[in-house]
Amino acid sequence: MPAPTFATQVLQTLAGALLLISFAMLAERRSRRLVTLLIWQGVVLVTSTLLVAVTAQQPHLFFSAALTLALKVGVLPWILLRLMRRLGIERDNEPLVNVPTLMLVGLGLVVFAFGLAQPITALATTVIRQTLGIALAVILLALLMILARRKAFTQVIGFLALENGLFFAATTTTYGMPMVVELGIALDVLVGVFIFGVFFFHIREQFDSLDLHHLETLKED
């Protein structure tokens, strides 16, 4: 394997930062801070996409970087923050059971993801592909976060983190998806968040809270 260039090192560091943010999200109790972490994740994503665009000379990645910037650092957090204000859950503290155990499970997932990705990284022709393991880990951690959370709002944040992981995997391994697909996904996410917002209001109207364990009462015996 050739010695990694400085750009690759930066990219790897960014991948590491993404993983770090994922773990921070897993342990964060406050919804407000979760949104901040999501913004940071978006920033890292934009930076890494730009970096790949420059080093691999893939001009279409500049577009997707701009799209990411607009959507994931700008619009989506803005919508989420607005929703929070409207729903009055800005200072919400979600009780989390046993953070250390959650972290340990997360660590196990990381080991699993890295192990899965290692044969691919061993074969990697581009050094960039080594980050596939990290991208996979970010996706799994986001799924774990969705599983562990009880509030609808934080689950949506988990969903967005998941999408970020997918996007990162796409940019670093195959220099991004075709523009059409990317636009489609971006639109989907945007619409998804709108729909979630509507659902939040409905759930809250019904149960006076966004705690999802209330939904369990809907089951008919």
Partner: protein
């Protein structure tokens, strides 16, 4: 050659012993400034030492030899740790005696002696402090070891001077994502180990929230002076470990010359000034965690270090 090496070895120790209170004073001063209080002078810790060494020591009636001996052992352990850590030069004979794993063992020895001494008098606060200190300790020790493991794997050695030389030998700037994880974990360990916020408040006066202070309640005069000095040395040592692993610039590597050492001292002072200010800033910005949140904080540190290890193994970087 050999004689000068031993001379600088002792010199590095003396430098650590002399600078440690200054560093503590600097952190206290920064904190005071940040909190809009009028700051104590930089040499306040030296004054405190002078005061304590002059006082008459009072010992509880049933204090045993363990209680009287522990301050000396703790202080000696910290001096020895300072001898191992390449703060000024990598030409350290003592660093061959004990590598970084032994360094962790040295900190553990000091902690165990401190906890045992705290239990010796048999007061409620003493044993409470000992228990809490050991709880923090059993969480920080593996975390610190894992942080060091990151560096070991990268440099292929457990000797701290070799790690420094390895880093400084690289001609161009190299970024290591795993070291980023390790650095975050290390800062968390540093805070917990040195009884800083958010784990312990070094300036608390409320016994029930104490950890480190609860252990030393029964000490006075010269014993207390030694313990305080040792805890400053510990903070200094931890800062130097941090520099060794993450920012070794300025440490004299090629032989030892007076000029190189002078440069290293300057670099060390500059780095300490920065680190102290950052520490004060962080402490001012954070609130003390509830005691049973502390394990969560430290598990985080441990896992981050392990994660760094994993990232290193995946990326080989």
């Amino acid at each position: 050659m050999t004689a000068t090496v031993y001379f600088w070895q002792i010199g590095a120790c003396a430098c650590a012993i002399a600078l440690a209170p200054l560093f503590a004073g600097w952190v206290a001063q920064c904190r005071a400034i940040l909190q809009n209080r009028s700051a104590p002078p930089l040499w306040q810790p030296y004054r405190m030492l002078r005061k304590l060494f002059r006082k008459e020591a009072t010992l509880a009636e049933d204090a045993s030899w363990l209680f009287r001996g522990a301050p000396y052992v703790v202080f000696a352990a910290m001096v020895l740790a300072a001898a191992i850590i390449p703060s000024l030069t990598t030409q350290l004979p003592a660093a061959r005696v004990a590598d970084a794993i032994a360094l962790v063992g040295l900190f553990a020895t000091a902690r165990v002696f401190m906890a045992l001494a705290a239990m010796d008098i048999g007061t409620a606060f003493g044993s409470l402090g000992a228990r809490r200190e050991m709880m923090i300790g059993f969480l920080t020790e593996p975390a610190l070891l894992m942080v060091l493991f990151n560096a070991f794997l990268m440099a292929g050695t457990t000797a701290l001077p070799a790690i420094v030389q390895n880093t400084l030998a690289q001609s161009h700037l190299v970024l290591h994502p795993s070291l980023a994880f390790a650095a975050v974990a290390f800062v968390m360990v540093l805070l917990a180990e040195n009884a800083r916020l958010p784990i312990d408040n070094p300036s608390t006066h409320l016994e029930l929230t104490m950890i480190h202070e609860a252990m030393v309640l029964e000490y006075s005069a010269r014993h207390l002076a030694l313990i305080e000095w040792a805890s400053w040395l510990k903070l200094f040592n931890y800062a130097c470990i941090g520099f060794t692993l993450f920012a070794p610039w300025g440490i004299a590597t090629h032989g030892v010359s007076a000029g190189g050492i002078a440069l290293a001292v300057l670099a060390l002072v500059a780095k300490l000034a920065l680190a102290g200010a950052a520490l004060a800033l962080f402490e001012t910005g954070s609130a003390k965690l509830r005691l049973f949140r502390a394990p969560e904080f430290l598990t985080m540190a441990f896992l981050l270090a392990v994660l760094g290890l994993l990232v290193h193994l995946l990326l080989k970087a």
